[in-house]
């Protein structure tokens, strides 16, 4: 079913919308959750929570891109669950590794007062992503948005993991420079 048809079902409060969403995008959302959490039970719960949340939010929300909308929701729910698990010292998935990699992108800050707000950071990230070529942006997003393992990204692009690692390392350096240039302090 087309995304517009699924949204119509949500708008008409037809519970078939949930089944259609799960059928069409459930697998991808499960993958996003799994990359973050690395645990089957938690992933299933996150995907179920996402389906409930989508049901409660459409309407009034009217997403232009249904996949982006639910993928983002799944990612946020999974990251929240990851934080809870981490507090209980039960972390998993790719998140810990991705976080330590992203440490390299943090511009050297001056003080807590100089910290940028979320909107500034988001604008800077959008600007940075817009400045990247398609291949770099895709690899970067696969790693830090979808939290895909490096080996999986390499497999998708038909190259060695070393090349992807190298590419990511360069992009992280570029991001750090970009954020510094934009005056972003975290």
């Amino acid at each position: 079913m087309e995304d517009s048809g699924i949204i119509e079902l949500y708008l008409g409060r037809d519970e078939g919308a949930i089944a259609q969403t799960q059928q069409k995008y459930g697998k991808q959302c499960y993958k996003i959750a799994y990359n973050i959490l690395g645990n089957r039970e938690d992933c299933e719960e996150c995907v179920n929570d996402m389906l409930v949340k989508v049901w409660n939010r459409i309407p009034p929300d009217m997403p232009h891109n249904l996949f982006s909308y639910i993928a983002k929701m799944t990612r946020n729910l999974s990251l929240n669950r990851y934080s809870e698990k981490k507090a209980a010292k039960r972390g998993g998935g790719q998140t810990e590794v991705a976080l330590s990699e992203l440490e390299e992108c943090i511009p050297s800050g001056k003080s807590v007062e100089d910290e940028c707000d979320d909107n500034e950071l988001r604008d800077a990230l959008n600007g940075f992503l817009g400045s990247l070529c398609t291949e770099k942006r895709t690899v970067f997003m696969q790693r830090y948005w979808y939290l895909m393992p490096i080996s999986e990204i390499a497999q998708k692009h038909g190259c060695e993991s070393g090349r992807i690692k190298m590419m990511l390392s360069r992009i992280r350096k570029e991001l750090k420079l970009y954020l510094e240039k934009e005056g972003i302090t975290l």
Binding site: F67, N76, A98, L99, L129, E135, T138, Y144, W145, S169
Partner: protein, 204 residues
Amino acid sequence: MKSERLLKELGNVNEEYTDLSQTESVPLKKHNRIKYITAGTAAALVVAVGGITLGTMLTGQNVPIADTSSNAIETAGETTTEIAVEQRDITIYYSEDGEMKSITKNMKCIPKIIFGEWKQLNKSAGKAEFVNCYVDNNGTEIVNESTVTYIVGDKYSIELTLSKDSAEIFEGEEGKKLLSSLEKTFLEYFGNGQLNCEFSVKYE
């Protein structure tokens, strides 16, 4: 944690960057890398790379790698630079009776020759044939009127291409040891163990 904030905020970037197409593959561009095609060009390039490496390690300065001025030799419309082949002690690793052993030999710094020596010492590597070797690093090039200066990066990658049927010699436990000996040999040759190198093998 700051990186956690960055990771979370990435989740809120424009939808165009997060749609389903982003999970798919895109054709990656070919490396801007050095290709060893023939022994002749290999010799010249290895010395260029070796010179940069050694020069940088010793002096910490940037090294010009190509001369496009009148000092360069022009042949049939193409500009080439004459460089002597470096020859030095290179440690070759080999697997014998389940153990990793090594031998140091004085030889020309040409990947094909080094591979040949490695193959001779590793009896189970009989099928493997050298195709070519790429070296890349995260450095940058500065081009001005007469010279091209290469600022050497801090991370290197060596991609060795072998013949298709070479893959099977690296299968199993013995194969892993064999591959490890090849990796150690090339990493040692390239950076004497002092550089941050990644090594990979592909087959064609």
